[in-house]
Symmetry: C2
Subunit: 330 residues, 2 copies
């Protein structure tokens, strides 16, 4: 059987072709296709990762058995309409089934394999999603990048900009973030950040969100302000998981809780999240966060479950290992 | 003498023609010309308010003695270049002098008439500016709408969106802001706010910022969450004034401190600001905030000072009275 999994995020789109034994035939990576980008951008990026993966694997699209696409920001009725329009414009042969899913739901499957639990995604944005033993679903967060996005890369960037500018204002702690931000945005005076952010970068959220990596670097050099931002991110992400579990009345149950997404590649965020989650959930199994290509695990699990395989976990382990190697190379 | 004052803000542009006795010959109002809008938008809006005021007053532009233009977001070298290009494209006859100034500096003159003190502007954005007895200048805030903009209308809107969405998430206090926001944006499900904000409204900051008025209405109906946002806004604005005074080493001096801008039309913000400012400044004269057409007082004072008049304060009082009447009618 030939399966394709695609994860369309706010910053990147990942794609792999694999089989039911866990062999990865090909992978590819492209620009964003989360539904806050324009429809034609999402379409182009999905089309492009599919084409490159098919070429690399030397597979004809009509030989695929199933394509699972998980997308960020697939929230409203309008979003679903837009996603279906995008899929229908990809010219996928009718014999190939396509499943569309919200990336938070896919993330939940990546973390729990369908057992009761909660997944927290922290990439450019942040969202938590869970399902309890009765099959009831709940989500928290995922409101975009302007508000209520604590713990996301974009939020980390906004906090860094806010605290650095307060230091420049003379009403905040001094921090190396000031010079690091000037270097990142290639500006000579800090005040130029106003133009850079509001005029040049505001349509490129990805580039602002990437500032989160700079915050992590500065924190690792011992900067208190930067460290504090990342600690707060880790705590907020654990609290989001708790809020979902509360809604589903399973905070004190033996559930699975885990994180997924690029923000967890920060040691400080990951360690804080694990510690706080262990405090908030007394009986849950707190899994190590998944990063790099790992967001693909969600649509991979969905695809294997859809095809009715039992040994999903062991197959996914093989694929995860290959994905981890891909991540370390990218 | 015939003078023209123009205040170009993030949401509106005000214009009046007046004389040295304080007679207002004409006034006009148009769209934004603060420098975070596109240059041609700012140019068109300034040109349009000038033309209408001249027509109403039946005055030929060449008969003006001086034009003072205060602009929001006139921060960086690039902004000044842009502002000068805009002015030169307005085809103002060479015999008419034009003075350009940052709106925070103009606001300072509106509040203090040039005496040592601090003005806090809270419109769509927020900024504080002051000058001490040695003529030293300092500013705090004014970083745009993405970060470090506490107390501004846009910040109030973001806080309202954040706390309403947290209530919907089931992890925040219940608040009437949820239904008020749905009504304001004309949506049937709260989750649709994601599309509305990030796709339709994000280029129209003014419309998001206007949500601050809804927050004030909801607070006046007794909603705790909305009230708390406005109280925090008032406190933050007073703290910005304090930060400026600290930088200028005049916190404990007999200085003048006052607010200016639309956010102060909220009773809760105004009262909180006055109370907090009285706490933070033991010997300062805390003036009642200026609202409505009052931002024009800044360029008016600058114009009168520039022409060398002594009785600036009494002339401005006459003009302010007329402006207050205009505000109550608009």
């Amino acid at each position: 059987m030939l399966l394709m999994a695609i994860d369309g995020g706010k910053s990147k789109t990942y794609c792999i072709i694999f089989n039911e034994r866990g062999d990865v035939l090909a992978s590819s990576l492209g620009g964003p296709s989360g539904l806050l980008v324009y429809a034609d951008v999402a379409e182009e990026n999905i089309f492009s990762v599919m084409r490159r993966a098919l070429l690399k694997a030397n597979v004809d699209i009509k030989d695929l058995d199933l394509i699972v696409i998980s997308l960020a920001d697939l929230d409203t009725d309008k979003d679903w309409e837009m996603a279906r329009r995008i899929v229908s414009s990809l010219n996928i042969p009718k014999n190939v089934r396509v499943i569309l899913e919200h990336d938070a739901v896919a993330a939940y499957y990546a973390v729990t394999f369908g057992e009761p639990g909660v997944a927290v995604i922290a990439g450019t944005g942040s969202i938590a999603f869970g399902i309890n033993k009765h099959g009831e679903r709940a989500r928290v967060g995922g409101w975009g990048w302007l508000f209520n996005d604590e713990g996301s890369a974009f939020w980390i960037a906004k906090e860094a900009l806010s605290l650095a500018s307060k230091a420049v204002d003379g009403r905040g702690k001094q921090t190396k973030l000031v010079s690091a931000i000037m270097e990142y945005f290639n500006i000579k005076k800090f005040i130029d950040i106003i133009d850079v952010i509001h005029k040049e970068f505001i349509t490129e959220h990805e580039r602002i969100a990437k500032l989160a990596k700079v915050v992590d670097m500065v924190a690792n050099e011992g900067d208190e302000v930067a460290t504090e931002i990342l600690v707060r991110a880790g705590i907020e992400l654990a609290k989001m998981a708790q809020a979902v579990a509360k809604k589903l009345k399973m905070v004190d149950d033996e559930i699975i809780v885990g994180g997924i997404g690029g923000v967890f590649s920060s040691d400080i965020v990951r360690r804080t999240f694990m510690k706080k989650a262990k405090e908030l959930f007394r009986r849950a199994h707190i899994k190590e966060p998944l990063i790099g290509y790992q967001p693909l695990v969600g649509p991979v699990v969905l695809a294997l479950k859809e095809c009715g395989f039992d040994n999903v976990e062991s197959v996914v382990k093989r694929i995860s290992k290959e994905l981890a190697e891909l991540s370390s190379r990218s």
